[in-house]
């Protein structure tokens, strides 16, 4: 595919190549990519060499097409650093650096992730199409360049379309997408959204592998990948840039990993535009596109995330702290500080947040001037003086607006209550306060605001205490309740809006705040581990206040201190900026916001001539005129592709849409589209699409669609949002082809339950059983269906239109267990007891057939080893039921040899049956001794050998089970690394001349 942009092909090619390898084959430096300047050490920072990129679709000579494993390169990169340390998530990281190198570079293992499913005879499973997300970010100065690589695997014999709705920071300017399949790299073009979708759908129908990146919200995107070939993995690379916000002296880099389930107001409309759990409604027409399915509680993480951030140069950053995750950090050979997620903290259920201070004295203003797309652009990072003379501090009317919807139930609600309580206690004697809580409706503590007297504060605390989370999120009613009350002319109304932001109608709320705010200032207080920052920051902007994010680990004390520091600061209003030494056009924001003293400001504009040497800010502080002349220093060179123009374009698009976020004028839309097409940006109206033109997947194969589920954000209650969780079981659990029953315990408001059985195309409706309150489907496994474990997919449709998906395994088993004899006498005398001990056996000859079964070897082994009953019949007609006994679980049967039994050989028939009714049979020969002849034992030696082998097998299986359990709890990395580490050594021995070893890295 040819590029539509005007970017020089060579430059992009170099960038593309380098970034492709940043996650997948992290063994080489990348001058054009994230590690462009200064060039880091190859073994430490996994970036690619500068090489020309051929046209899209042409084969690339990339050393390894294998994507990075779960648990791979981030830790591997840190593994080769100086000053390597492991850091628990905490607010402050010691900045002192010790220089001792602890490991040689490139020692850690990197290899491909395992596929999560497998093709089975007659049954297909694609449990989770997305297997891994790799994030590489580089921060220089105030700008972050980020590359996100998503690995989509198709273990099925069908064509796969994967759809993944995922979050990004709300200020991210998504500039590029490409994908790699095998050795081929396909670049994207930017088009109008509907045109890009048409291109994608045509490619999908034609069997061409294609990728489409669409924006749903500024912080929610959808990645679609069509025609992932059977057995293949496609790596989709997304690139974005954003400004790194500075607040209260600290910079914050954040990367969201999951989308909190959104509450969608409005009446459902017919049809759905996306695969989400919510139907589209009249108020949120794209609700089904922003409500990706959520993994049920207790289920393993569907994929993992691996994040590595380079702070360049390392000595420009102080007090680096990861507040959300455990990380490993150190300095690389190039002097950059590298921060990587610890291996045991990669579950994608909370935002990654990394903060730091700039080393040394921060200048009042610094500029980044870059030439991009034929123009010069300026980014000006401005820090107005914090210690301006305070105007008379007016008393405040504090209105606490508390979201107590279902998603806030549990820890977020407790944290919000603690925060409000602390703020009440900290309010001044002249202040007044009001508390309004909302879920499906708004509820005020009192009719009007109360003076913050000790008695009233106590009353407020008591009222807070009785609040609990639950219900919908009719946020608009809360906003109206908070802002519609008559204003107190003596006090400045400050609305502190505490929410997780899990709603689908963000634009409506932001617009309502702007419309209703009057003289009040609204502060967005995002509470939780995966706050909807687009909403919270948008509310802060629209409300002329600010936004704060309080994660669940932060103390309310610190958050309240930050809030009051801000509330008590004087506000600069009616600000204007002018520049000395430069002519700046199209300055954004075109109307400067009010600023609390010390609050930073970022300006972007087109530059004519040289960079400014001073910026002059004029405005009012209270009623008095205020001005400041701030010298401008050159910003930190950020290296790589220029970004100032891109970030200006992103701001321009935001400015255009901010005026009417819900339904912008067609003229505005056209301006947005023109800007986005020029700068190759993803917006609501433009998308990136990439199509492989050369190779095709057989279009006659069935196209299977896999919607990637997300995890519930840490600390958020599943039941609080979705009600009681749905559970599904099939009874009997293991069946021969027959008629099992599938039972679904669905929430009470379930309106329909549909089940798609693995041997049928169309879903069936389960029956609601009023007597038991559950849903049931009786079905037949076809008579010739092969053994294996298959997934029935269950779709629960709630009364409000929300949808929830579950799966239940159907295990078809026609394989009986074989029997091994642990002990049996060689001979036994008439009148004596004959004691026979047997145990299920696993013949080696059965393993290939078991391995070929659908659903995995473990399930097949379990079926093949299972025994429900063992019967033994003697030639004299006696039938004995064996009973399990002893620590090894032997089945022991006792038979009684009649006194008149005829001496000589006697054949015992031993029959085992399993829960599915499968029967195996074997014979055991004993000898009836003649009178006077002694009885004798027989097979104990063999039994001991067999037992030892069985114990060894048990130990191995349990060890693997233990590792699998660890993997489930920690995410897949440790197991992958443990197992792959050995493979790496084997690979080194097998391929000693592979170029990867020569570079000191990994293949």
């Amino acid at each position: 595919m040819r590029l539509a942009s005007s970017r020089p092909c060579g430059a992009l090619a170099a960038l593309s190549t380098s970034l492709l390898l940043a996650c997948g084959s992290p063994a080489s430096p990348a001058p054009g990519g994230l590690g462009a300047s200064p060039a880091p050490d190859a073994s430490a920072i996994r970036l690619a060499p500068d090489r020309p990129l051929p046209d899209a679709g042409q084969e690339l000579a990339i050393p390894s097409a294998a994507p990075e494993p779960a648990g791979g390169a981030a830790a591997a990169a840190v593994g080769g650093l100086r000053d390597r340390r492991r850091v628990e998530a905490r607010p402050v990281l010691p900045a002192s650096v010790t220089a001792a190198a602890t490991r040689s570079a490139g020692a850690a293992a990197v290899a491909a992730p395992a596929l999560t499913g497998r093709a089975g005879a007659g049954g297909l499973e694609v449990p989770f199409a997305l297997v891994h997300t790799c994030v590489r970010a580089q921060v220089s100065g105030d700008v972050a360049r980020v590359e996100v690589t998503q690995y989509y695997a198709n273990p099925s014999p069908d064509r796969l379309e994967a759809i993944y709705t995922f979050p990004l920071p709300p200020n991210a300017a998504v500039t590029d997408m490409l994908f790699r399949i095998g050795n081929r790299v396909v670049l994207s073009e930017v088009h109008r959204r509907e045109e890009a979708r048409r291109t994608y759908e045509a490619a999908r129908a034609a069997g061409k592998t294609a990728a489409l990146t669409e924006q749903e919200r500024p912080n929610v995107f959808t990645q679609s990948v069509a025609n992932v070939p059977p057995g293949a993995t496609v790596a989709v690379v997304l690139r974005y840039v954003h400004e790194v916000p500075l607040d209260d002296g600290r910079y914050l880099f954040h990367f969201p990993t999951t989308i909190g389930p959104r509450y969608v107001p409005g009446a459902p409309v017919s049809g759905s535009s996306g695969p989400g759990f919510s139907p589209d409604t009249d108020r949120v027409p794209d609700a089904s596109r922003v409500t990706p399915p959520v993994v049920a509680p207790g289920a393993p993480a569907p994929h993992d995330v691996d994040i590595l951030v380079r702070l360049v140069p390392g000595d420009a950053f102080e007090d680096v702290a990861a507040t959300s995750h455990r990380v490993e950090t150190g300095l690389d050979e190039g002097g950059a500080r590298v921060v990587a997620l610890a291996e045991d903290d990669r579950r994608p259920d909370k935002d990654f947040a990394l903060t730091w201070r700039a080393a040394g004295t921060a200048p009042g203003a610094h500029a980044l001037v870059q030439r991009e797309r034929g123009g010069d652009y300026l980014l000006l990072f401005l820090q107005p003086p914090a210690h301006v003379a305070a105007a008379q501090v007016r008393p405040k009317e504090l209105v606490f607006l508390l979201d107590k919807s279902g998603s806030m139930s549990g820890p977020p609600m407790e944290r919000a209550k603690a925060l409000v309580a602390r703020a009440l206690q900290a309010s001044g004697p002249d202040d007044t306060f009001q508390i309004i809580a909302f879920d499906g409706a708004a509820q005020s503590m009192t009719e009007g605001s109360l003076p913050a007297t000790p008695a009233n504060v106590a009353r407020g605390l008591a009222w807070l205490e009785q609040l609990s989370g639950g219900g919908g999120t009719e946020m608009l009613r809360g906003i109206e309740a908070a802002l519609a009350q008559p204003a107190d002319p003596r006090r400045l109304r400050m609305v502190v809006f505490c929410t997780d932001g899990f709603i689908g109608n963000e634009a409506e709320i932001i617009q309502a705040v702007a419309r209703l705010r009057g003289p009040a200032r609204v502060f967005g207080f995002g509470i939780g581990s995966s706050v909807n920052r687009y909403l919270v920051e948008g509310v802060g902007r629209a409300g002329r206040g600010a936004a704060e994010i309080v994660d669940l680990k932060e103390s309310p004390e610190a958050a309240v201190q930050r809030l009051f520091r801000r509330l008590d600061r004087p506000v600069l209003t009616e600000l204007e900026a002018s520049f000395e030494g430069a002519e700046v056009k199209d300055l954004l924001p075109d109307r400067l916001p009010d600023l609390f003293a010390g609050q930073p400001l970022v300006l972007a504009g087109r530059l004519e001539g040289a960079a400014p040497h001073h910026v002059l800010l004029r405005g009012r502080l209270g009623q008095e005129p205020w001005s400041a002349r701030i010298p401008v220093t050159a910003g930190l060179a950020s290296g790589g592709e220029p970004v100032a123009g891109t970030l200006w374009a992103r701001r321009r698009i935001d400015a255009l849409l901010d005026a009417s976020p819900v339904a912008p004028d067609p003229e505005v839309v056209e301006q947005v589209v023109a800007t986005a097409l020029r700068f190759k940006l993803v917006t609501r109206y433009t998308s990136l699409v990439a199509v492989e033109r050369e190779l095709r997947v057989d279009p006659s194969l069935r196209l299977r669609q896999a919607v990637v589920p997300g995890l519930m954000p840490e600390g958020v209650s599943y039941e609080g949002i979705f009600g009681p969780a749905t559970s599904v079981e099939v009874l009997p659990a293991r069946v021969k082809p027959g008629d099992p029953e599938l039972r679904v315990e669905a929430p009470p408001d379930a309106a329909a339950v549909q089940v798609t059985l693995p041997f049928e195309q169309a879903p069936r409706d389960a029956l609601r059983d009023p007597a038991r309150g559950d849903w049931v489907l009786r079905f037949l496994v076809p008579p010739t269906w092969p053994d294996g474990s298959y997934l029935a997919r269950v779709l629960v449709v709630r009364a409000d239109g929300r949808r929830e998906e579950r799966t239940a395994p159907i295990r078809v088993d026609t394989t009986p267990a074989a029997l091994a004899v642990l002990s049996a006498p060689s001979s036994v005398r008439p009148g004596e007891e004959l004691r026979l001990r047997v145990k299920p056996a696993l013949p080696a000859s059965r393993l290939p057939a078991l391995a070929a079964q659908a659903g995995g070897l473990a399930s097949a082994l379990k079926g093949a080893m299972e025994v429900k009953e063992v019967l033994v019949r003697a030639p004299w007609g006696e039938v004995a039921r064996a009973r399990m006994e002893g620590p090894v679980g032997a089945y022991a049967a006792v038979l009684h040899v009649p006194e008149d039994a005829t001496p000589g050989p006697a054949g015992l028939e031993v029959v085992a049956s399993d829960a599915a009714g499968n029967v195996s049979r074997r014979g055991v020969e004993v000898r009836i001794a003649a009178p006077g002849e002694a009885s004798s034992g027989g097979r104990s030696a063999l039994a001991l050998a067999l037992l030892a082998a069985g114990v060894a097998g048990a130990a191995a299986l349990l060890a693997v089970g233990f590792l699998a359990m660890v993997r489930r709890r920690r995410g897949p990395e440790p197991l992958a690394r443990l197992l792959l580490a050995g493979s790496l050594a084997e690979m080194q021995r097998a391929h000693p001349r592979h170029p990867a070893w020569a570079r000191g890295g990994e293949p």
């Binding site: 029956l767 029967v919 580490a981």
Partner: protein, 360 residues
């Protein structure tokens, strides 16, 4: 590569855990098989497979209900009550569906068997035993049970569930405390009893997934524990390759000739009056899969419905069984059976109800 040290530790820990697991009574290792090189298993079933004898039987279609038919009950007036797999009941021919049948929902739409007893029509469903018509219509007994089989024996109606045997009495259902010889509970999958025998004569035959059991009807009276005789199918001569009984019918007049069990995938098994067990395997795999409850008796002949192997008509010939198959239904999946004076009433998995008239 230092990574090996970690798996070594992990494996060591796994070994320790395995030792702990081995020591525990409920330890998972107790259920792990012994690895062996050679499979010592013998064929699960023995004896020659015989093809059913084709017979020409006119087939007359009575109704199409569009769902898998699981139970049939003629009303004696030309009408036929048809129970389905998951769609409740319908009436074929003259007559109307009882109101109680129209009110069924949930698991009670999943019908397993039908019986008329003392003027009441009972439906055994996955959601209990429902009185459809007659005295007590609408009443539900054993509401928490999936009732798999019904049989009238000695003037009483017995119901079988996964929790045992039940007898309708005094407006309710009482548990009949029957166990096997080892005290094992009986999870009933099929029931059969002779008709037209005197009080206390004959046996109640009970099918389970662990073979068949029989109990003299005389022993069923009273409240004490009863021990049924066990007939494991897998030790027959020749043995059946399964112990799972899906359908049962009594041979001959009274039960002097024993009974025949249909199995899930092991064909038919003759259960002799003295405990003999004789497996009868058919040449086609699908003919060996007898559908649950698909058995009926008409005079000396029995009929069994199979999962794609047609309708099998069985008669005793001395110690052996003679198996014939109506040619018109050779490939049908026969999922329900009943008999009336005009022939066999056959319900199929594809929702047809037909009458088959075979020569005596």
């Amino acid at each position: 590569v230092t990574g090996w040290t970690i798996p070594a530790r992990a494996l060591g820990l796994g070994l320790l855990l395995s030792v702990a697991a081995l020591g525990g009574k409920g330890g998972r290792a107790r259920h792990i098989a012994v690895p062996v090189l050679v499979d010592p298993s013998l064929p699960a079933g023995a004896g020659p497979a015989t093809p059913p004898t084709p017979v020409a039987c006119p087939v007359e279609e009575l109704a199409r209900v569009g769902r898998r038919v699981t139970a049939l009950l003629p009303d004696g007036h030309g009408g036929l009550l048809v129970g389905t797999f998951d769609g409740g009941l319908v009436v074929a021919g003259p007559g109307v569906l009882p109101p109680a049948a129209r009110a069924l929902a949930g698991r009670r739409l999943m019908v397993n068997a039908l019986a008329a007893w003392r003027g009441t029509v009972w439906a055994a469903t996955q959601g209990g035993l429902v009185a459809l018509a007659g005295p007590g219509a609408g009443e539900v007994l054993l509401a928490e049970e999936a009732v798999s089989a019904l049989a009238e024996a000695g003037g009483e109606l017995y119901a079988g569930t996964g929790h045992g045997l039940w007898r309708l009495a005094g407006g309710g259902a009482e548990a009949v405390p029957v166990t096997g010889p080892d005290g094992e509970a009986l999870r009933v999958t099929a029931l059969a009893a002779p008709g037209g025998v005197g009080p206390g004569e004959g046996h109640l035959w009970i099918g389970t997934s662990s073979g068949a059991y029989s109990l003299p009807l005389a022993a069923l009276a009273g409240a004490g524990r009863k021990v049924a005789a066990w007939h494991p199918l897998v030790f027959g001569d020749p043995p059946a390759p399964t112990d799972v009984v899906t359908a049962l019918a009594v041979l001959g007049d009274g039960d002097g000739d024993g009974a025949v069990a249909g199995t899930d995938d092991g064909g038919l098994v003759r259960l002799g009056p003295r405990g003999e067990v004789v497996g009868v395997r058919l040449t086609e795999a699908l003919a060996n899969q007898v559908n649950p409850g698909a058995a009926a008796k008409a005079g000396p002949a029995l009929a069994f419905g199979t999962q794609g192997g047609g309708l099998l008509v069985v008669r005793a010939r001395g110690e052996a069984l003679e198996v014939a198959r109506p040619a018109g239904l050779a490939r049908a999946a026969v999922s329900a059976l009943a008999a009336d004076r005009a022939g066999w009433l056959v319900g199929t998995a594809d929702g047809r109800v037909v009458r088959v008239r075979c020569p005596e």
